[in-house]
């Protein structure tokens, strides 16, 4: 008995040792940098970018207040708060639209015969991994004033002048939806594929309507996949950077661009760091909800 226990311990030690390099690598190049940003968010900006090593809560105060240049008095400023709220709304709207389109698609995929199913999965997997920059450029081509849609509308005589779509909120929402739709479909599909359709049959036997089957049986049972999909869409659209830059034309900012701006031409690293920390707080909150809802889904199922 003692010998087996020793061997188990040896095995544990070996498997720990195997896992360690990856964990250390990620701590060094993913976790440590976040701590540096946390530290920077409590410092003062240096004139030419970077930070001065001096403790300050200026960056967080600057999020809500504007300091008067002459007498240092603070006045409430909703400028940044509004950009955060806008970004949050974009994130939620993108998630809802992706869910409304993504769930039926995933359901359709999961109810195909196994051979056809694999082709569907491949069809969704390709855009899932395709270059996001190129896909955003593709949306830009289509909705530009000289783009495909406007050219068609003009040549059909439906409009006299191009319909302005690019550099609007609509363009950003379309771009986010187009970018992250596959992220919603695949996790939901993974859940639906494991669904036991005998339960659906049983509820039809008990005179449930199609709608009831969907809302009372299928959706609750696939909740973990739905929650994962929502998270995979919400997090990147909340932190979006390329989409609003290309399709919003820089006039319609989201937090991602605001952060990049502070590290670029605005040269206010502490403010950018503070924005990043607030963004991370939202992400943590979303993760927390997902874990809780997932746990809830399991106990009900």
């Amino acid at each position: 008995m003692a010998e087996i226990k020793d061997m188990q311990r040896l095995d544990d030690a070996r498997r720990r040792f195997l896992t360690l390099p990856a964990v250390l690598f990620i701590l060094a190049f993913a976790a440590l940098p976040l701590l540096v940003v946390l530290a920077y968010s409590f410092m003062k900006p240096a004139t030419y970018g970077g930070v001065e090593w001096q403790f300050s809560t200026e960056a967080y105060v600057g999020f809500l207040f504007q300091k008067d240049i002459f007498d240092d008095s603070l006045t409430f400023s909703s400028e940044y708060l509004l950009i955060f709220a806008r970004t949050f709304l974009f994130g939620i709207a993108t998630t809802v639209i992706c869910l409304l389109i993504g769930f039926p698609t995933a359901y359709h995929m999961a109810t195909r015969p196994p051979q056809t199913r694999n082709w569907w999965v491949l069809l969704i997997t390709i855009p899932f991994w395709s270059n996001l920059l190129v896909r955003t450029i593709a949306v830009m081509f289509i909705i530009r004033d000289e783009g495909l849609i406007n050219t068609i509308l003009l040549s059909l005589g439906l409009v006299d002048q191009p319909v302005t779509m690019i550099f609007t909120d609509f363009a950003i929402l379309l771009g986010l939806f187009y970018s992250f739709l596959p992220f919603m479909i695949l996790p939901i599909y993974a859940s639906l594929e494991k669904l036991d359709f005998r339960l659906v049959e049983a509820s039809y036997d008990l005179y449930a309507s199609r709608f009831q089957v969907l809302t009372r049986i299928i959706i609750p049972l696939t909740w973990p996949g739905i929650a994962t999909g929502c998270l995979l869409v919400f997090i990147p659209s909340f932190g979006a950077y390329v989409t609003p830059l290309l399709l919003g034309g820089g006039r319609h900012l989201m937090i991602g661009d605001l952060i990049a701006l502070q590290f670029g031409s605005s040269r206010n690293w502490p403010l950018g760091s503070a924005f990043s920390m607030i963004l991370m707080a939202f992400v943590m909150l979303a993760l927390f909800f997902q874990i809780r809802k997932n746990a809830g889904g399991v106990s009900h199922g």
Partner: protein, 274 residues
Amino acid sequence: MADVAAIRSPDIKKQSGFAFIAGSCIAVLYLPMLVVIAYSFNSANNLGAKWHGFTSNWYNVVLANTEFYDSTILSLIVAAAATLISTVLATAAALGTTRGRPWRGQGSAYLAITTPLVVPEIVTGISLLSLFAFLSTVTGIDLGIWKLILAHSAFCIPFAYLPIRARLEGMDTTLDNAAADLYATPWKTFRYVTMPLLVPGISSGAALAFIVSFDDFTITQLIAGPGETTLPLYIWGRIRRTLTPELNAMCTLLLLISLAFIVLSFILSHRRRA
């Protein structure tokens, strides 16, 4: 009873309208990309939507473009190095976190390894920028393209780790135990038993790591120094200049490179398990 049920609902899986939505979904996902590809063959000198005639000349223009060539080479070097580093680390970690009783702290290790998946790219980008800036002010060292390789390796680890782990979880330990009973050392067991069975998982993970690194724009843009222009950064720079179908040709080539690796990874991970 069964007959009655069959008459009432011939297909229990049907939900009306879902097939239409699924079909539109595919159209929406592919049309813009197909338009980009189609217009790379337009002989017009601008990026308007008017069709002027077929030409493959823009591909000659792209292939003769030394800046395009240099940035592609840099992207390939960074992606190859990042794939190698992340796949080795991810394989070791996958072996360490599957098959066998979970050790104390294994859950935290899993959480750490998958962290890069939940941090928005913009935050990862500026945090690495801050780290490298901090390093260079303290030590005076500029890591050059190693900045890109180290950063890419870090965020590629979870993408390589998850398929390898999935493959390992589907493999039982009987063969490993048999090898151990026959006095194979742990290394020999790994080299001659586990490893050959794991190759599809490792290749699939490596292909994903390669795509993620090769395609990355946001993080790379924030940390790349002058002269460290990867292919996505070069394409980004070109959007700001005069637009010609050459841009479409470059986008098409970039899509094709990713497509090759996506299909490779898909086939490897969906092949029937031995």
